[in-house]
């Protein structure tokens, strides 16, 4: 038990090291790339091409295979950022601050995808592109938080002050996540309740559910890939004057 604990502790400390993380991510990125894209294409092709047609919505429902994964990762990325914000504020771990800055644009892009795909799906099914119901509005608030975090970071000259400010803001914005999640239960919304249920039967046929789960899983792998790439690039930017980085670039390692 002590060995497991010290291994985890050692890995945690390594994660906080810019040189270690840079080298680790450089080796890991190709593996995640090779893993992620085949699974993504499997899910997309299975869902969009092979899954059965919906009796009510016809073919338009197939947007679910992009909309739901995008919405899911958008919220999860913010949750991870909020945890990083807490880690930064408490332990001043530089990597945590960098994580927030690197992940915010990724989270924002998938939130935009979720909102636009939702609007495109909503227009033929609900008869409207947009409605100010709880789910849509709280997801729009999520996007605004992402954009404000990116803007706030850019407004500081000092990286430490920027990390501190965005960490606090990210934690404050985390209150929106349970609101998004529970919005369809707490309020009378146009957006349908959760399709996938963990503790009871999902309200979707298995032939449609399985490719959806694969798409969700593949989106998480892709976001992990983008996160590694973004963090590696940001580490390079922050460490470009350090000898370890210069030696790496010039091949003097």
């Amino acid at each position: 038990m002590n060995n497991i604990f010290s291994t985890v502790k050692s890995f945690y400390h390594k994660l906080g090291s810019f040189p270690w993380f840079y080298k680790f991510s450089s080796k890991f990125i190709p593996i995640v790339f090779i893993l992620g894209f085949p699974i993504f294409f499997l899910g997309i092709i299975w869902g969009i091409y092979f899954s059965p047609t919906d009796v009510t919505q016809g073919e338009i429902y197939r947007i679910i295979y992009l909309h739901v994964p995008a919405a899911s990762v958008a919220q999860t990325v913010y949750f991870a950022m909020a945890i990083a914000g807490f880690v930064y504020v408490v332990w001043k771990m530089k990597m945590a601050g960098l994580f927030i800055y690197a992940m915010a644009p990724i989270g924002a892009s998938f939130t935009i995808l979720a909102l636009i795909s939702g609007a495109i799906w909503g227009q033929p099914t609900w008869g409207t592109w947009w409605i100010w119901d709880a789910r849509l509005t709280s997801t729009l608030v999520l996007l605004l938080f992402y954009l404000v975090i990116i803007g706030l970071y850019s407004s500081f000259d000092n990286k430490k002050s920027a990390d501190q400010a965005v960490s606090i803001l990210t934690m404050v914005g985390a209150i929106n996540l349970p609101i998004i999640k529970k919005s369809v239960d707490w309020w009378n919304t146009l957006h349908q309740p959760a399709t996938i249920k963990v503790f009871s039967e999902s309200s979707i046929a298995n032939e449609m559910l399985y490719p959806l789960l694969i798409c969700i899983f593949s989106f998480y792998i892709l976001v992990f890939l983008f996160g590694l790439m973004a963090m590696r690039a940001e580490i390079a930017k922050r460490e470009l004057n350090k000898s370890w980085f210069k030696n790496l670039v010039l091949g003097n390692d």
């Binding site: 092979f50 073919e59 795909s117 799906w121 033929p124 983008f226 390079a236 670039v249």
Partner: protein, 46 residues
């Protein structure tokens, strides 16, 4: 199974947007890193 002659414009737009977002998230960090490495080589050769 989908009737490919009936694939809606809506689905096509969403698919296109997804691939665009994936491409952007792949290309931007790669270009950023390339630029930084170029900058380091330029500084060191000066």
């Amino acid at each position: 199974m989908i009737d490919l002659t009936n694939i809606s414009t809506h689905l096509s737009i969403v698919l296109g947007l997804t691939f665009l977002i994936i491409l952007i998230n792949l290309v931007i960090p790669l270009r950023k890193l390339k630029r930084i490495k170029k900058q380091v080589k330029k500084i060191e050769s000066a």
